[in-house]
Amino acid sequence: MSILDIDERLFTLLDKVEFDRSPITDIKEVGECDVGIIEGGLCNAENVEVLREFRRRCKVLVALGACAINGGLPAQRNHLSLPLLLQEVYRSEPGAEYGLIPNDPELPLPLNKVHPLHEVVRIDHFIPGCPPSADAIWQVLTGLLEGREHPLDHSLIHFD
């Protein structure tokens, strides 16, 4: 959603790029891309699959935001065991004594720990921040389009 914060600059961007799969277009398959931007950490098996597929399809892969870069808030579950977490979420609420832990085969299996993206695939650029500022996103995107070597100024590097 932070990408939308770049506001009317989006139109300038649209003159130069074509969006493939995005939360706006809701295309399920990933096409061949020059630049892929991916947010969020790896929480389940499907996340890993999508990331690997995305890496294969993108020439340049950009990790956007704290969760993608270090696991972020979801990774704060990493010191708890997965069974304990599932018990806590699905079976500890009053009135849910008969609640079941979801086990539909269609549901992706949760990972034991939440991992940042660079632990699984090569990431070319990182835009830190929770969320990253519109200016940081803009600078990296325009930097990539112009073939600039260092797409992020130090003043735009923020971890919170």
Partner: protein, 238 residues
Amino acid sequence: MSATFLLDGRAIPFSEGQTILQAAVAAGAYIPHLCFHPDFKPHGSCKVCTVKVGGRQSASCTTAAAAGAVVESDTPAINAERLALVQMLFVEGNHFCPSCEKSGDCKLQATACDLGMVSPHFDHFFPDRPVDASHPDLLLDFNRCILCSLCVRASRDVDGKNAFALAGRGLRTRLIVNSRTGRLVDSDVSAGDRAVHVCPVGVILPKRRGFSVPLGRRVFDLKPISAVADASAQIEER
């Protein structure tokens, strides 16, 4: 104070017995550092202050200043090594900046930003260290400890209490509280102690103070750490 050495081409005056970093800080010159604090004896553990003197790399906080020495600090090669050190500190602990009250006032975070860190690069350890919330006024989150020993030195040398210590060796080194139970509430630490204000990261935090200075207006939100004269004083006043 007539003797000087050259730090990246700038003459830095020093007096007998001063280390390179002590003299640089006193002269308002920035050499990145984490475990050093002008008020305490150098510890030499983080190595972020590493410089090149006479062709050799050494920690500037523990290397004596010498007249005429040529010291290189702000070079791409040394800064790349500093960046790797800082990245290792990030993955060895749990540094989730958005959920840390110290964000914006944290020297680890500010040093990382200043060195251009955009990712921790290495695989995360995601350690599981306890949090001690037993004290009525203070919170201890050991997950963020970078083992700089500043609280240890402040408690011993200023407060006269020896409330903190580093125990264990190598990977197992950890901060402990010197009390019968190991809990902070059973130690003689109090909220006014120097030891509880020197932590460069968000391990020792006062309770009930959340966001008293909003994010975006904290010390290193306003200026990079390399441009803040005496960052320690400004943060500790908080």
